[in-house]
Subunit: 148 residues, 2 copies
DNA sequence: CGTGGTGGTCAAGCTGCTTGACCATGTAGT
DNA sequence: ACTACATGGTCAAGCAGCTTGACCACCACG
């Protein structure tokens, strides 16, 4: 595969990713959850299973603990999450989603489903499944980083 | 397709996009082009064909003219581009890549090719071609936006 | 030739992130 | 048990990239 083809693939991937982010964000806002930025969505994704500490969140987002702590301050102040004492470690505090946080997460899922629905209309269900499979196999494990 | 599946596809896509951006950036730095951020790469992509005005660049990147102008200042100062008088419009100035800018663009293509090469090793050439085809068909036309 | 629209820059301000310092708690060594 | 170091978290200050607002030079249309 030539360099120019690799670049075309890269550009398309990044364009789709940027567009998808925008659509999810718009969809979340349209459902009444304001004052959030796309980065918060990735924080929610990490908090959703059973909560996380600030340090874990920082590692997941690829930022400093201070930045993650600030982000948590923000979503706590806006009612999407709360800090609880950590059951095992008295130094740590477990950040968990509130009911409103869960509602916001569901709104994001709906918005994502709407965007993916458009892809299904364009490509067909089979091709979208193939896309999902391919991406899942090349997705990295490390922290989630902004596209740029 | 369920919401949770759409979310899994979205997460994989964004993870791959973030990782790819990081790899291209690292590759460019490794080839000796420093002081650049990933956003500059998208500017280069718009400038490459035959140059562009600051306003066009701003529209492409989805930022204000002032931000685009600042970005151009930076890449001009670092020797990657230069401002020329616009052939048709005396108000406008055409921003074009210098030879160093072209060299940097080629470095980015090499880095992208290396990343895509890993995907080929994982998925096989056919599946990567299919991926490219699918993405090209759902890629939007509008401005390129950061993933978040 | 005015009058409004457009390309571009200057200036000031905000926001999200960083680095650096610090405290409280955990953990390992002796 | 006591010391020494590592780790979770916050406070404070600074910086970088973007925004809004104001402004000038030039185009284009009546």
């Amino acid at each position: 595969m030539q360099n120019s083809e690799a670049m075309a693939l890269s550009a398309a991937l990044l364009a789709v990713a940027g567009d998808l982010t925008q659509r999810i964000h718009d969809g979340v806002v349209a459902r009444g959850f304001e004052g959030l930025r796309p980065a918060h969505g990735f924080a929610f994704a990490r908090l959703a299973p059973g909560g996380a500490t600030v340090t874990e969140l920082a590692a997941h987002l690829g930022v400093t603990k201070q930045a993650a702590s600030q982000l948590v301050d923000e979503i706590v102040r806006k009612g999407y999450a709360e800090r609880q004492p950590h059951p095992q470690d008295a130094r740590a505090r477990l950040v968990v989603l509130t009911e409103r946080g869960w509602a916001c997460t569901r709104a994001a899922e709906e918005a994502a489903a709407a965007a993916v629905g458009e892809w299904v209309a364009l490509l067909g269900e089979g091709e979208v499944r193939a896309l999902r499979g391919s991406l899942a196999r090349i997705a990295p494990y490390g922290p989630i980083r902004p596209a740029w």
